[in-house]
């Protein structure tokens, strides 16, 4: 019943079991590797401030060099709306080019690459709070750190200061990154549309409720296509250390 089928082809065997020392070295390497793989999704996309985020920063060189450290949250936590980048000639409402574009991007894998690029641009903008909002948040944090310091909570105050500085750096880089990416995409779409200049728009394709579809709605209905903002509104702020890049 528990018969294990054996391959019918005759096989040579390697020169027997490995020496204990070899097995020990291999075991250590395997354990380190598996731990690295496991710590990827533990630290990405979310991490704890006290334990896993510092760990992720320490492991970043290894994760990035080896292309590990992925979060693997496929279709999680919820499958959401898709996002498109559209290009318009300034002053016009007509879309001259869009990403992704089924009619132009073929084969499907290429279409998906452009689709992922439009998702990246959307995510970059969503993750970046507006400058004013961010500055208010930072001021609150700094004030809180000052209060802690006055109250004799030096360790807590120092920790809040560190978070404040990290956020400041992340926002500056995020803003620069979004601006540069937007500019590159805009240039490419202008070239494709054969226009000297285009404005970018980011659209979200909402997914209708099943009951709406039962009542006759189509997935392609324009009311499911929203455009909360234009990509061109991103500020360009020089990131720390940018001059040396």
């Amino acid at each position: 019943m528990s018969h294990k089928p054996e391959p019918s082809t005759p096989f040579q065997h390697d020169a027997g079991p490995w020496l204990p020392a070899w097995r020990l070295v291999a075991s250590a390497l395997i354990a380190i590797w598996v731990a690295l793989v496991f710590l990827g999704p533990v630290t990405n996309p979310s991490a704890t401030e006290e334990l896993t985020a510092p760990l992720a920063r320490k492991l970043a060189p290894l994760h990035q060099t080896l292309f590990l450290g992925h979060g693997y949250r496929f279709f999680a936590p919820d499958p959401g709306p898709a996002h498109r980048v559209v290009a318009r000639v300034p002053g016009s409402e007509d879309v001259v080019c869009s990403l992704p574009d089924r009619s132009r991007h073929w084969p499907r894998l290429l279409y998906h690459r452009w689709f992922m690029l439009s998702e990246t641009l959307w995510n970059e903008r969503q993750l970046l709070p507006p400058r004013e909002e961010f500055q208010l948040m930072q001021q609150d944090l700094a004030a809180q750190a000052d209060r802690m310091l006055l109250g004799g909570e030096r360790a807590l105050a120092s920790s809040l200061r560190a978070i404040h500085d990290r956020q400041e750096l992340a926002w500056a880089w995020g803003n620069r990154r979004t601006a540069v990416l937007t500019e590159h995409v805009r240039a490419e779409l202008a070239r494709r549309a054969g226009q000297p200049e285009v404005e970018l728009g980011l659209q979200a394709r909402l997914i209708p409720f099943p009951s709406d579809v039962v009542l006759g709605s189509q997935l392609s209905d324009s009311r499911y296509l929203t455009e909360p903002g234009r990509a061109s509104s991103t500020e360009t702020v020089e990131a720390p250390g940018a001059a040396s890049q």
């Binding site: 395997i30 693997y72 997935l219």
Partner: protein, 370 residues
């Protein structure tokens, strides 16, 4: 106290033995060979498609800024790509074509020891350069390429294997003539390959026969510990992927209220198959959502017992083919299915693959051009 120590020592010894069995038991190379062939072709296709927009994504004026990765790391990155080192766009095509040649050679199992390592590096390099346009496919391609580079993935269904076999078939006569001297100088090798005891191989009678068996044995694929480690790493990595993909879904409301599959198939940008008729049968959507969630969260645990493994593999086939057909991500779906082959025992892979069997038994070498 002594009894406690003894029990602890026994427990540790049992664990060490189990660890050794899991990682260091030699494995036959069929599963690995089939995974290499299929993953290699997928990797080749994935990168061939970049040819259509090579300058747009990899050039100096790429739609993805060259320093985008650095900006992602707030000015610091260890993520690397050989495209960063090119002096100009004139090098793009030669470097890309060279990369494709390496990947194709890897897929067919030619000089696999070298091409597997190069392919793993290339897959990582391309994915890094296209940060911002990459997705799950690149992660699975890289996973497979890395482990196929660690293991001897060219020992089955490969040009390397075919060449080895051809060499071993062309050499016996010449070697048999000198069998006595071979046996005399290396008695232990022929003895181990023929399965006879060292003392027996040294006998003068039948020495030529032993030498021929020895040489034919050299052409046969090798069962090895490294093959097992490669397969085990794919298995463990796959379990980690499904574990976190499943846990991530448990955070989502739509997976709990049974509507997640609707939001996946009714997404126009993904859609390749009109499944909006499911709106009339939401009970089916609920069922599919729950089945997918149950399958994914239980996969890391139920894939190991022999009893539940076929069920888990059938689930993988359904889920990934479904994603591929309905949501236009066939390459990603296929890559996941190929990775799941790591759980199919080598003997079954061989049974399922008549071509492989024919190759292994020498039919391939009797074809007119070979």
């Amino acid at each position: 106290m002594t009894a406690g120590m003894q029990a602890a020592r026994q427990w540790l010894a049992d664990w060490a033995a189990a660890w050794n069995r899991f990682w260091f038991t030699p494995s036959a190379p069929q599963s690995l060979g089939l995974i290499r062939l299929l993953a290699g072709l997928l990797i080749f296709y994935t990168h061939l498609v970049w040819s259509l927009e090579l300058g747009t994504f990899f050039g100096q004026e790429s739609v993805l800024p060259a320093d985008y990765r650095q900006m992602l790391g707030n000015g610091q990155t260890w993520s690397w790509s050989h495209f960063d080192w090119l002096p100009g766009d004139g090098w793009l095509w030669p470097v890309h074509i060279a990369g494709l040649v390496v990947m194709f050679l890897f897929a067919i199992g030619c000089w696999t020891r070298v091409t597997s390592v190069l392919t793993a590096l290339l897959v990582i390099s391309y994915a890094n350069r296209t940060t911002g346009a990459q997705f799950g496919l690149d992660q699975i391609n890289s996973l497979l390429a890395t482990y196929l580079a660690v293991a001897p993935s060219g020992d089955w269904l490969s040009v390397d294997q075919w060449l080895r076999k051809r060499r071993s078939e062309s050499e016996p006569e010449a070697l048999a003539e000198n069998a006595d001297s071979i046996l005399f100088s290396q008695p232990w090798k022929s003895a181990s390959a023929s399965g006879s005891r060292p003392g027996k191989s040294a006998s003068a009678s039948g020495s030529k026969e032993i030498a021929v068996v020895s040489v034919q044995g050299r052409g046969a694929p090798r069962s090895s510990i490294l093959a097992n480690i490669g397969i085990r790493l794919i298995q463990v990595h796959l379990c980690i992927i499904y574990l976190f993909a499943g846990l991530g879904k448990l955070q989502g409301e739509s997976w709990w209220n049974g509507q997640a599959i609707w939001y996946a198939v009714a997404n126009l940008e993904y859609q390749t198959m009109d499944l909006t008729w499911l709106a009339d049968h939401m009970w089916l959507v609920n069922l599919m959502t729950w089945a997918a969630l149950a399958w994914e969260t239980s996969y890391p645990f139920l894939i190991w017992p022999r009893l539940s493994r076929p069920l888990m593999l059938a689930g993988a086939l359904l889920v990934h083919l479904g994603i591929g057909l309905a949501m236009g991500m066939m390459t990603f779906g296929l890559a996941m299915i190929v990775a799941n082959l790591a759980f199919v025992p080598p003997a079954i892979v061989e049974q399922l693959s008549p071509t492989a069997r024919a190759m292994a038994k020498g039919t391939f070498s009797r074809l007119p051009n070979s």
